[in-house]
Structures are given as structure tokens and as C-alpha cells.
């Protein structure tokens, strides 16, 4: 025993991939069927395959989204979320948004991360409508999601939240998102937030901190 010495002609059999593409060998129909397999490894493989299939169509996106909460295996859930992030179509982004209102914080975070891993031009249109949602928690998640995108309008979206959102916590989420990236052009919006909530010591603290970070000190 000890180290296994390989013999000629033995060893791990890695398939040669003639077309150097990925995921092409599993058809969408097979992958869709695989999503319902009893073996979680097969379901994960099916999700990977759908994620690599470009845009696999509305039925596949619905099937993937259905697995997010319907599958008890965390590995499958992660594979599904990763697949939707890779598909990155408007439909895939839209399929993720409803999960932002769930109680499961780990799920919410994973969904938010998946949206942020899509191109900003796809994720933003899915998140922006949430800024007008009646639930301030959802508005906070939208702010967090938008705050993580690389998009030329990002600072403007967050500035608008600071200037207009009625809920102080939503405004503070925007301050936090802006402070992380340092967006000096939003300084005036920051001052306005401080004036809108003059009696709130945490707003004063957060605005001061962000102001210092914008000014580099």
C-alpha cells in the first residue's frame, strides 16, 4: 500500500471535449428531466448544464426557479442559483426577485449575490421597481443589490433613495452602499438625508462617516 502507482493505460478517464465548448453534450430536455431526478448529484449536473446552455427558455427558467425552495439539498439550490446567474437573461433576473422577500436570510443573500453576478444591465431593471415597493425591507434589499452593481447610474439611484425614501433605514442602506464605493458626487444627497432626519443620531453618525470617506479622511 502507500502511494498508488499508476500502470500504463490506467488512470483517470477525463473525456476529451472535441468542440471545447461547455455543457453542449446535455440537451435542454435531458437537463430539465434531470432536475427532477432523485439523486441530488444528477439534479446539480442538470442545473449546471442549463446554466451553460445560453438562454434555455422560459420552461427551463421556471423549472430552475421552482427548485430554489422546492429542493431540500443545499448543493442543488446553489447550483440552481449559479445557473440562473450564468443565464443572466431578463427572465432569469425576474425569476430571482420574488425570493428577496423570504424569511430565510441565507436564501435572500444568495439570491442577491446571484443578481449582482449578472451584468448590471440585466440585474438593474429587475431591482429598480422594488425601490417603489411598499415593504421597506424589500426596498433595502433593492438598495443593497443596486449598490453592488457596476453601472453608470448607480450613484444617481442611491442618491434618489436618500433624497426621497420615507423610511430612514432605506436611506441608511443607500448611505452604506455609497460609502463602500466612495461616491463624492452624492455628497449633496447625503446632506439632504441628514436634514430630513435631523433628530436621528445614527443618521448623523452614518452621514458623517460617509462624508469623511468621500473626502478621503
Amino acid at each position: 500500500m502507500g502511494l498508488v502507482r499508476k500502470k500504463p493505460g490506467t488512470g483517470i478517464a477525463v473525456p476529451h471535449v472535441d468542440d471545447h465548448g461547455m455543457g453542449a453534450s446535455v440537451g435542454t430536455a435531458d437537463a430539465l428531466a434531470g432536475l427532477g431526478d432523485a439523486d441530488p448529484a444528477v439534479r446539480r449536473q442538470a442545473a449546471h448544464a442549463l446554466g451553460q446552455a445560453g438562454d434555455p427558455g422560459p420552461a427551463a427558467i421556471a423549472a430552475l426557479a421552482g427548485r430554489i425552495e422546492g429542493d431540500g439539498d443545499p448543493g442543488v439550490r446553489e447550483a440552481v442559483l449559479t445557473a440562473l446567474a450564468r443565464i443572466a437573461s431578463p427572465a432569469a433576473a425576474a425569476a430571482l426577485v420574488p425570493f428577496l422577500d423570504r424569511e430565510d436570510a441565507a436564501l435572500r443573500n444568495a439570491v442577491l449575490e446571484s443578481l449582482q453576478q449578472m451584468p448590471a444591465g440585466v440585474a438593474a431593471p429587475a431591482l429598480l421597481p422594488l425601490l417603489d415597493h411598499s415593504d421597506p425591507d424589500l426596498r433595502i434589499f433593492a438598495v443593497q443589490g443596486l449598490g453592488g452593481l457596476v453601472h453608470p447610474d448607480r450613484a444617481a439611484w442611491l442618491a434618489a433613495v436618500m433624497e426621497h425614501d420615507a423610511d430612514v433605514n432605506v436611506g441608511l442602506a443607500a448611505v452604506e452602499a455609497l460609502a463602500e464605493a466612495g461616491s463624492p458626487e452624492a455628497l449633496s444627497s447625503l446632506e439632504r438625508l441628514a436634514r430630513r432626519f435631523p433628530g436621528d443620531p445614527f443618521v448623523a453618525f452614518a452621514v458623517d462617516t460617509a462624508r469623511s470617506s468621500f473626502r478621503g479622511g
Partner: protein, 292 residues
């Protein structure tokens, strides 16, 4: 003549090229890597004899053999490494991890270790040496060492097992004399070289694998420990997350993954549990289900 302006590829062309490479290989290049990418693309376009990037991309996409894509990948990956690099992680393997894995295994059963992104072979051979030298139970188990890389040229060198002084600098003298033989003749013309002994060369199973391709990674299953150090730095966030999913599938329940010292699994995936050992932090696949 390759038609690349002195200032490099136009932004749209550069983006198209990076998108292609990301989709086919998982390798992610940003604008910050332009100096690195532009020079290599120009060299390959000249070698192939195409004038525009569009023509070159067509070669990459449609060449049946995939040879040109492989050549480009070989140029685009950096393979600087040496024996016993980040040795504290190898210490962790032989002082903690293997004992824990062996606790529930009958003597005679198999343990599988995979060095993913092995470059010229220093890592898997270092693992082999550490096992032979420092794991007292090495003869009680069948230990299989697998090693893979996306770069076919470095794999050839890994199989050959010939190293220069720089690669061996971290190796104690007694291990050098025990596991290496001096190379004489033309191969040593540019400086001293040593070849790793045949027994160790036969103990590592090298294969060409693109870890961004699920079909290829599917060949790796039931792995107990994966070393994937300083490989995922070439991937973007989503690529890293996908790779983490691949490793999750490859690992046996309770298997471990070891990343480079600057890398953190918690920033890639929630599927693994961090495990703090006296020598290092590794990430473990839970026995049933995931970590989240």
C-alpha cells in the same frame, strides 16, 4: 501580419475576446490585464497568420482539433511555483486532515487527493513527499494522487519531472538527495537540473482538465482532499462560484478543499464549512447536505 494597433485591441474587441475565453475556459481577464493579453494575442495571430481579431476568434471557435485554443490557454496561464510552497498547508494535511479522514476508514481503503491546477507538478510531488515522509499511516492506505491542469505544455513538464534550483529551493537537502537525481547532458546545459525519481513520477496521475467544464470535472468523484491553490484567482466571481460547485460535486462527504492563502471560500460559496486546524484553515463538504 497581425492587425493590432500599438495601443492594443480596441475595447470592444478586447471585451469580445475576454467573453470568449471566460465562456470556454473560465479564465477571466479584466482591463488591468491588457498588457498581458494584448501581447500574447498579437503573437498568436502572427503565428496563425490572421490579420484581424475576428478571424482569430473564428479559428479559436471552429478549429476542429482545438489546438489553437490550447496553445492560447498555455500562453495565458502563469505557472510559477516551487516545492513545499505554503508548506503549512501540507503540514496540515499530514498532521490533521488525513488522520481525521482515516478515522472512519478501514486500513486498506483508498484515499484520493487531487491537485487541481498543478502546473509543472511541484504541488502533487510535494504532497507525495510529505505523505511518505511525515504521515505515519501512509502504508495502511491506498493513496491516489491525481493532478490536473488546463495547460498541456506544463503537464508534459510535470510528467517529465525535471526541475531547476529555483523550484527546489524550499526542499531540505536530505529530501533532495532522497527523491531527486541530478540530470546530466543537454538537459543540464543551462544550469543544474534534478529529476524526481521514477517511483514518485508513477505515483501522480496527471490529466488535462478544464475545471470550468462540468463534463471533464465529472471524471473526478469521491475525492477526499482537493488542493486548489492560486488557481481561482484567474476566474471572475461567478466563475469561482461555479468552480466551487464543481469541487463540491467532486468531493466525498466530509472531504476537504485547500485554497491559496489569499483566497477564501466564504467569498465564493456557502456550501462548505470552514475548519480551523492548528496549521491552516481548510473548507469541508458537510457529510449530508450543505452548510447553508
Amino acid at each position: 501580419m497581425a492587425d493590432i494597433p500599438a495601443e492594443g485591441l480596441p475595447p470592444a474587441d478586447y471585451a469580445a475576446l475576454c467573453d470568449f475565453l471566460r465562456a470556454r475556459t473560465g479564465l477571466s481577464f479584466t482591463e488591468a490585464k491588457r498588457y498581458f493579453v494584448d501581447r500574447r494575442i498579437a503573437a498568436r495571430m502572427a503565428a496563425v497568420g490572421v490579420a484581424t481579431l475576428r478571424d482569430y476568434l473564428n479559428v479559436l471557435r471552429f478549429q476542429a482539433s482545438g489546438e489553437e485554443l490550447q496553445r492560447l490557454v498555455n500562453l495565458m496561464t502563469v505557472n510559477e511555483t516551487y516545492f513545499f510552497r505554503e508548506k503549512y498547508q501540507l503540514d496540515c494535511l499530514v498532521r490533521s486532515v488525513l488522520d481525521e479522514l482515516a478515522r472512519n476508514r478501514r486500513p486498506g481503503s483508498r484515499l484520493r487527493i487531487w491537485s487541481a491546477g498543478c502546473a509543472t507538478g511541484e504541488e502533487p510531488y510535494s504532497i507525495a513527499i510529505m505523505l511518505l515522509e511525515q504521515w505515519s499511516r501512509v502504508d495502511e492506505y491506498e493513496i491516489e494522487i491525481l493532478a490536473s491542469d488546463i495547460d498541456s505544455a506544463v503537464l508534459e513538464r510535470a510528467r517529465e519531472g525535471i526541475y531547476d534550483e529555483r523550484a527546489l529551493q524550499g526542499l531540505p537537502a536530505h529530501l533532495r538527495s532522497k527523491y531527486f537525481q541530478p540530470v546530466r547532458g543537454a538537459l543540464a546545459a543551462d544550469g543544474a537540473r534534478w529529476r524526481i525519481i521514477e517511483e514518485l513520477r508513477e505515483s501522480v496521475d496527471f490529466s488535462l482538465v478544464n475545471i470550468a467544464d462540468p463534463r471533464q470535472v465529472q471524471a473526478f468523484r469521491g475525492i477526499d482532499v482537493i488542493f486548489c491553490r492560486n488557481l481561482l484567482i484567474y476566474f471572475d466571481d461567478l466563475g469561482r462560484r461555479e468552480a466551487a460547485g464543481m469541487f463540491y460535486d467532486a468531493l466525498a462527504p466530509n472531504g476537504f478543499i485547500c485554497l491559496g492563502h489569499s483566497e477564501s471560500m466564504s467569498r465564493m460559496s456557502s456550501l462548505f464549512v470552514p475548519r480551523r486546524f492548528p496549521d491552516a484553515i481548510l473548507y469541508q463538504k458537510p457529510a449530508e447536505g450543505g452548510a447553508s
